[in-house]
């Protein structure tokens, strides 16, 4: 039981980063970014590029991969989403499916379809207080927690964070208070791409890299974000943890490969009962 809870926590933390990324882009840009999965994949492979073919250590590769993924994120914003800025949010949502398809297949084109892994040694699991804990799980927990705290501090207490929240709240009012939307949007993509990349690396460490890896996370990530009330980034984290633990507990009664179905059921029930999200008690505009 404790083991299940622990595994659920780790699963939840893995979902938390992309859920946060999704929620960030949603709150500022007002559209559901279905390319979040492809961004995870792209990030994971960008890191792989530095780690395996170039032989850089994983930490350095992660930093380099983030830079590459951020560049791609900014490019996609400039080429795809910015021209659609004045159009309906559904148009951008459909565009994001196109972006997802394009990004995923860039990866397939260069890396092929077969699974890959990072160049790390497999360490023996530790036993702490009766729990079986992998090295990867420790890496995941630490890096996600550090990333979350960092994002939280930026979001809550810095000038940039206030600018992001202001644009999310009311873009026109933010403009007349002197906030340049373009810069805020760019910073949102920087953060969102970096978070997706980190998630990609951790998922790749946990399992393997394949071009489909990010897509498999789209459903849980959306569920987590919706659980949190989609426009509320920090609540998305709480949503992710809830979902992670719920889906791990569900393996008591369901086969493990049906985790996604648990996510879907949780989301369906929630949407019927509380469309504003489980933790969405924020003042909702309009």
């Amino acid at each position: 039981m404790a083991q299940l809870l622990f595994n659920g926590l780790v699963t939840g933390l893995l979902i938390a980063l992309p859920a946060l990324s999704l929620s960030l882009t949603f709150s500022v840009l007002r559209f559901a970014n279905y390319a979040i999965g492809a961004q995870i994949t792209l990030g994971a492979y960008a890191v792989y590029l530095f780690n395996v073919p170039l032989g850089w250590p994983l930490l350095l590769s992660t930093a380099a991969g983030m830079v590459l993924a951020v560049a791609v994120g900014l490019l996609v914003q400039a080429l795809a989403y910015e021209p659609l800025r004045a159009r309906s949010s559904v148009t951008r949502l459909v565009a994001s499916i196109g972006v997802a398809l394009a990004l995923e297949n860039v990866v397939r084109f260069f890396a092929g379809n077969s699974p890959r892994g990072y160049g790390v040694e497999i360490a023996r699991p530790l036993r702490i207080a009766g729990l079986r804990i992998n090295q990867e799980q420790i890496t995941i927990m630490l890096s996600v927690l550090v990333a979350l705290v960092l994002v939280w501090v930026v979001f809550r207490f810095t000038r940039l964070g206030r600018a992001m929240r202001a644009v999310a709240d009311d873009a026109d009012l933010a403009a007349v208070r002197g906030i340049r939307r373009g810069r805020v949007v760019a910073m949102v993509w920087v953060l969102a791409s970096a978070l997706a990349t980190l998630a990609g690396v951790l998922i790749g460490l946990d399992a393997t890299l394949d071009p489909q890896m990010g897509w498999n996370y789209v459903l849980p990530v959306f569920t987590a974000a919706i659980l949190g009330g989609i426009a509320n980034p920090m609540a998305a984290v709480a949503g992710a943890l809830t979902l992670g633990i719920a889906s791990e507990l569900a393996t008591l009664v369901m086969a493990p490969h049906y985790r996604a179905i648990v996510a879907f059921l949780v989301m369906a029930v929630l949407l019927l009962v509380r469309p504003s999200g489980l933790f969405g008690k924020q003042w909702v505009a309009k």
Partner: protein
């Protein structure tokens, strides 16, 4: 050469029917069905299973149509009070879960082994070697029927109401029409067409497995609708027979481009689909053909 042509045409026709279904649901009704491939897959599997259980092909197809329509109606129910963003994720969730279910419930679906030996309609009456041509004829017939029905729907009072509620749900509400029932009917009707498309898929390949179904099917349908012009059935047909035909035809370019291997070519094709979809949204927002009503009322 002829067989390439027939193969491409068959795939294009199936894509066109899926496009028409999405055009009804999204183009006309404003309901974003991101899980289109799931309903399509359901159609293929129901038809395939009924067929291998011994049902005549047309009966299997009818079963697929009814079941997909019901599943669509049920899915739209989940999103009663929700905006488009949520409907998109609910339908996508349904599709992904269905795919998982089909991949793992081997007792029912044979899982990843797939279902072989699906019998095409009228197979007994078709002389040897003409199977594909006969199938093509049947597919064209299906396309004509779906097109005719959807054109009627678009011009009927129901179609007008749909457009009105797409632009502003409150409008239909104040007219005393129940938006929920409207959504449900639209989704079910579109689902029926997806049942047809899925069945044709099963008939064409005579073998189905879960890997044949994925977001690419959804993306094709969105391309057809966006290129054709949201709401225009004629536009969907034009888009299918030009752009999708080109893309599908490029499958057979492997022989021409020996530099790229098969999977790279496939990746390139899918990249073009994705990038193309975004480009059309940006550069040709109204598509090729204006919606039927717009010609009449825009000054």
């Amino acid at each position: 050469m002829i067989s390439y042509l027939i193969a491409t045409s068959a795939l294009v026709i199936i894509a066109a029917i899926a496009g028409l279904a999405l055009n009804l649901q999204w183009g006309l009704g404003g309901l974003v069905n991101f899980g289109l491939f799931g309903f399509y897959m359901l159609g293929a599997y129901v038809c395939g299973l009924f067929s291998v259980w011994g049902a005549p092909p047309l009966v299997a197809m009818a079963g697929a149509i009814v079941l997909v329509a019901l599943a669509s109606a049920a899915t739209s129910l989940i999103s009663i009070r929700l905006s488009e963003d949520y409907l998109a994720i609910v339908t996508l969730g349904f599709a992904e879960c269905l795919k998982l279910f089909i991949s793992y419930e081997e007792w029912l679906t044979r899982g990843t082994l797939g279902i072989p030996g699906i019998v095409r309609p009228f197979a007994a009456y078709v002389p040897q070697g003409y199977g594909d041509a006969a199938f093509l004829g049947f597919a064209v017939l299906c396309l004509v029927v779906v097109f005719a029905v959807f054109e009627r729907v678009a011009r009927s009072p129901f179609g007008r109401l749909l457009r009105a509620s797409r632009e502003d749900p409150a409008v239909a509400d104040t007219l005393g029409k129940n938006v929920l029932v409207l959504r449900l009917k639209t989704f079910a009707l579109g689902g029926a067409a997806l049942g047809i498309a899925g069945s044709l898929h099963a008939f064409y390949y005579t073998y189905i497995d879960p890997t044949q179904f994925g977001t690419i099917i959804t993306a094709y349908a969105f391309m057809a609708v966006v290129i054709g012009g949201r709401g225009s059935n004629v536009g969907v047909l034009i888009a299918s027979f030009t752009v999708i035909a080109l893309l599908e035809g490029s499958r057979f370019l492997i022989d021409v481009f020996p530099v790229l291997d098969g999977s790279q070519l496939a990746a390139l094709r899918l990249f073009l689909v994705g990038a193309g979809l975004v480009a059309i949204l940006i550069f040709k927002p109204d598509g090729l053909v204006r919606e039927y009503r717009l010609r009449a009322t825009r000054s």
